[in-house]
């Protein structure tokens, strides 16, 4: 079964540093998403991306965050200057359509620890 692949599985970074989280969506999918889960809390939507632009972002997704599809296979989330409160599990997801749940698949996550 096709998978969404996220790397690294765990990343530790110093406060103020830039970090890039990487995702390889399922190859024929067109819609891409990032979600965040702060330890012990619920999973929250960050941003959706389609046709090389952001289609929706939550209030969490401020100017410190950016997303990019630098080539035909990767989808990245960049945090420009990390803060302690950015420590969380970040999940990437992709779907073939933006209309419904069919094929909507989550990756296994990247645990970001900011020290």
């Amino acid at each position: 079964e096709p998978e969404v692949t996220q790397t690294p599985s765990h990343q530790v970074t110093q406060m103020g540093q830039e970090v890039i989280l990487r995702c390889v969506p399922i190859s024929n999918h067109l819609y891409f998403y990032w979600y965040r889960q702060i330890l012990g809390q619920k999973v929250e939507f960050l941003v959706s991306f389609y046709n090389n632009e952001i289609s929706e972002k939550s209030e969490i997704f401020d100017d410190q965050f950016s997303v990019e599809r630098p080539d035909g296979s990767n989808f990245t989330l960049k945090i420009r200057s990390t803060k302690l409160e950015d420590s969380a599990m970040y999940f990437c997801a992709s779907s073939p359509s933006g209309q419904g749940p069919y094929g909507y698949t989550f990756g296994s996550g990247t645990r970001l620890t900011v020290v």
Partner: protein, 115 residues
């Protein structure tokens, strides 16, 4: 806006006993509903989903859930739990109100199966 309520933050249950994890959602339109499981330090795994049709949905690992439109509930059940079912369980509802298809998650229920 859509929301999901999981009233029980923790549910302890003895091995081989039945369990029910409660989920209520708020929506005035048709919804898709999901249950995900998260084992310690792992990603999200889809347990089951309700898209349409029969209100009783069967998933993996012996879990099932019943969609009740009049009570806006989607409770998860298992007739006999195992130690290996110890995990965090998240209920989620689809949301398309702002033009992007995304998931709204509940705060999770930690199921602890006792020997």
């Amino acid at each position: 806006a859509q929301s999901v309520t999981q009233l029980d933050s923790q549910v302890p249950v003895f091995e081989e006993a039945p369990v029910e994890l409660r989920c209520n959602y708020s929506s005035s339109v048709s919804v898709y509903l999901f249950w995900y499981v998260q084992y310690p330090n792992q990603g999200l795994q889809l347990l089951l989903k309700y898209l349409s049709g029969s209100t009783l949905v069967k998933g993996i690992n012996g879990f099932e859930a019943e969609f009740n439109k009049s009570q806006t509930s989607f409770h998860l059940r298992k007739p006999s739990v195992h130690i290996s079912d110890t995990a965090e369980y998240f209920c989620a509802v689809s949301d398309f109100t702002s033009g992007t298809y995304k998931y709204i998650f509940g705060t999770g229920t930690r199921l602890k199966v006792l020997a």
